[in-house]
Symmetry: D2
Subunit: 345 residues, 4 copies
């Protein structure tokens, strides 16, 4: 059994990691950390896990933890994962980081969007961007992996097949209109996630300035585009989990709906967590699961495709994808501990 530690275990991504890992056939959870809740039982912070774990939260001490765990998940706030990543890699551990700290390969881009200089710029090229459907070969060899953001995951998975198949001009404009549940905002109370402020409403936020924008741009360029214009508008919806991403993009030749669905299906024929649908995806059908459901339409006038994807932001958008990355890094079956259907309704 692989000895695993979850660093930053009290938030939603941390809790979801625990839920998945306590059922994983090849994993033994040996440590859970929290700076502000050290000493507490993990059950107190995650009552749904009562009976599944008997660990107490402890502070993050790399040396002490290194003796008890061989694989680490970092579920820490942005800007606080850099030092732990460096220390753990230095100690020979394998690490998946769920924060944004190692997603952007260019330290200047990081600095611009996260308003802080990067303390470990040398690691940025070494840590692999962990989108398994695109980079599985690199992930399998990686010691450190940067787990993608939830919005980029939902946006990139439908886009890659079109880009890779040359269906999109390299300078095209990509419009991404994302609708997210509230758990993506984390577990810390704030006015924008207060029940009565969110319920019975819907709002665009960080229009044009969301930090997942440079991550999407980086990846569509790595996918083959040259100078894309990406317009990304996230919206907050009154639901717990899930992101529906609606993408509008002009194709460089005329395709029928059947053809574009066929392109998607072929591209993902060997990807166990991608399901191409005849109809429209809905996050309710992937709730609690690691699937990304994808649908596509062609505008009657031709030229424009409408791509739709649904993920659970805490699973395929965070903890599930992180476990999928661990599976690849450890040579486990890619689906180990992850192949369960969504909980619906």
């Amino acid at each position: 059994m692989l000895r695993v530690a979850v660093v930053g275990a009290t938030g939603y991504a941390g809790g979801e990691l625990l839920r998945l890992l306590c059922q994983h056939p090849k994993v033994q959870l040996t440590a859970v950390t929290s700076e502000h809740a050290a000493g507490e039982s993990i059950e107190k912070r995650h009552p749904s896990l009562k009976g599944f774990l008997s660990l107490a939260l402890e502070p993050l001490e790399v040396k002490a933890l290194s003796a008890r765990a061989d694989f680490f998940f970092l579920a820490l706030p942005h800007r606080t994962a850099q030092t732990p990543m460096a220390a753990l890699l230095g100690a020979g551990k394998k690490v998946v980081d769920l924060s944004a700290d190692f997603r952007l390969q260019d330290p200047l881009t990081y600095e611009k969007w996260y308003q802080a200089s990067h303390s470990e710029p040398g690691l940025l090229k070494q840590v692999v961007y962990g989108l398994p459907e695109v980079y599985s070969a690199w992930i399998a060899e990686a010691q450190g992996v940067a787990n993608p953001g939830c919005y980029p995951t939902g946006a990139l998975l439908p886009l890659f097949p079109l880009i890779k198949n040359g269906l999109v001009s390299p300078n095209e404009t990509i419009l991404i209109d994302s609708k997210s549940g509230v758990s993506g905002a984390g577990r810390s109370p704030s006015p924008t996630s207060h029940f009565t402020e969110v319920n019975e409403g819907v709002e665009a936020y960080n229009v044009g300035v969301h930090r997942h924008l440079p991550e999407i741009v980086q990846e569509v360029i790595r996918g083959g585009m040259t100078s894309p214009r990406v317009i990304f508008t996230p919206h907050l919806l009154p639901m717990n989990r899930g992101i529906l991403t609606t993408i509008y993009i002009r194709l460089n030749r005329s395709l029928s709906r059947g053809e574009i669905l066929s392109v998607l299906s072929s591209h993902y024929a060997k990807s166990p967590f991608i399901r191409i649908l005849d109809g429209s995806p809905n996050p309710k059908n992937v709730r609690g699961s690691n699937f990304c459901d994808i649908g596509a339409y062609i505008h009657p006038d031709g030229g424009w495709a409408i791509l739709l994807s649904a993920i659970d932001n805490l699973v395929k958008g965070a903890a599930g994808q992180a476990v999928q990355n661990m599976n690849l890094m450890m040579g486990f079956p890619e689906t180990a501990g992850l192949m369960s259907p969504g909980l619906c309704p």
Copy 2:
């Protein structure tokens, strides 16, 4: 007091008309109709109105009703308002129709999108499209008014100032991504509005084939565009009321955000129900009110504008706009019975 009848009073639009009209200073409700609930007290169908109305539902009989009412609201299903409209206009009554039956001016377009021939094509040019912020002069003279659809209302109000001010090329592509609450689907139970099917999910529907598309196209052409490509994707959200519309459109010259907000503010300086916001609109702030809140952003790369509007689909998107039209048709103050703030939270 104007004697008013609501035809089709048991649905959500009908109930909302009753809520507004029973508080209207110049109106006396004299009749409410329903074919399937004739004989019942209106309170039984709308318990929230208990104590405000003592009318019983009755079948629609134009001759009998004509003796008791001078102004009629038709809140009937699509395809069933044509004959009543003709009869009531023939009887010299003024009518606002909340169905889609008189919104499209071309009977062939109607036939194509509503799968039925129009029984009163001669009235299509006579009945005025009732978007008061655009056609108030015509509405004031009209005997019959077609109340706009909820999605077109939310889409057209932010677009018109740009089109009228020549900021959009006449053949431009307009992308409209709308997010609607469930009351827009009406009060009849169906799988797609079953609580557990809607709650904790979000889904695009009728992608590219929604019936509000030709209505939007008709109006942007009347506004001055020549051959627009309109891509319209409605989404269903787990909330009772409200539509947030996100519009992506390329401008034909570079504008700052301040400039576009200024264009919007100037255009609607005399429109009492339009509020231009510094930030992002949210349907929660217009709930139960007749306001349309509008915001705007410019993509950092320039060229593209992101317009956002929020309405209550049952008020500005249906009953409130219908009352606003009645006010104009009767020479009442445009805001009579309508100038109350939203209910938030």
Copy 3:
């Protein structure tokens, strides 16, 4: 026009007061206060009110405000309303306090439940408990009124007719199972009102130790009971507004359902905001309104009555009742500015 100030205007009760008062035919809002948001426009804190008020928030300075307002609403946190109440009463102003500071007549009871001594115990007997359906005569003469808690309002209104009509033994056990929306918890973010912690769940809280318990006990004793045992269990539900209260109580003689409904109807024949229903009340039918809907059932075995009430916690449970109290204190019609139906759906 009565010049009115709202002290503590940024929370939900404050916002609801503003919504009601800006539409009140006999009121002019002249001041709104906030300590932490002083200087800001009130619209910024309550975007739904945009266009209705042009006031800026200011700190509470009794002397300065006294020159500009004659009637004060205090919507402050518990324990902070005592000094302002004393100062304003001393300045000859009329005041309705929405906090709990003057609801309990016994300073020792206050001290026990609010963990603080009362700084103005001498005022406790002078300030009237503002449940208008019970104490309207006293309220009409009062200079200061303590607005009841939301739970006590929902519990006491169905109970009083039974107690007053001698249908309940003076030592009876009263079981009150209340289900509340989240706005009752206020506008300050906290883990217990975080969207994802509340949504899709329901939980009892403060079982046996909720601060509204002594308030209910005080009032059923003033109503005529001697030594009641009150078991009160509040539950938090995933909805914005509304309290449904389910009350179980043994009657001291056998009554049919018709008889108990008749007792309720007779008792409240002259209470404009009480509606006795044939069926079951639902907060959705009183949303945004000042009504308290009441229903009643008799257990088939006889002996036990099940009483149900529905209120909007922010209106009849807070701001609406406060305005109703103002109306009585000022000799306005009791329903002035309050007689509108609920917003449903």
Copy 4:
């Protein structure tokens, strides 16, 4: 592998059975039936299961199915499970029936509450009431099991330890106030489960006349009470899954809170799906799981206990408990395929 058929597979209980069974280590799903959707792929009705099952729905034909399955779950509407149960038992199959048809042991009680005579009264004593925490020995020997109702499950599990330990007088009054999510009402659209009718509201229904009442009465009598008065009030809440049950009962001697928690813990020491909590249970913590979380409080005045339980109505209240019964009937580990934590948030 046990060959299993799900009869009535398109509803919520049917879908939940499929979700659990497709992951069960000892089960092979071989048939799924539906009368109205025969011929369709099961994935079409349950898109969340896409990729997990490749079965087509077929009509229920006992002879044909008997060749392909050895264990049957009946997830049919009440009144339609009697004939299939008789036929399948006659064919030597083991059956768990999720309807109410075999829960009540007295055919006259069934007839009174379900308005129909029972076609197989002879089977009523033979089919075992499948509450595993109470009747596991009988279930292990049973050929047919009647799966308990969701409300009775939530009410009986906290009550049994008190009754069995003699803490409740045999004629005591038991007050059960239940709060349920909407999935308990099934998947067929109806006005009472229409999104906009349920959302932002809460309502008691079937007060005093709910069909789960006689089931609860039957079981507390079997548990040892003589002539209990059970007052049961179900409430419908705006959430998908979950029942919170609040029970008020007078104890026949004074117990501290610690003592009652200790009684509960001892009683369920060997029940893997019962968790006794220090705090208050919340359905969100058992969502998607087979747990029943139980909490308890003592009213300060003594004498009364407040018991609280939380279950997922579709799992412990339906499909999960049915699988638990199958495990017992087949000699599988009681927890096989069921021991996963809830999905939270």
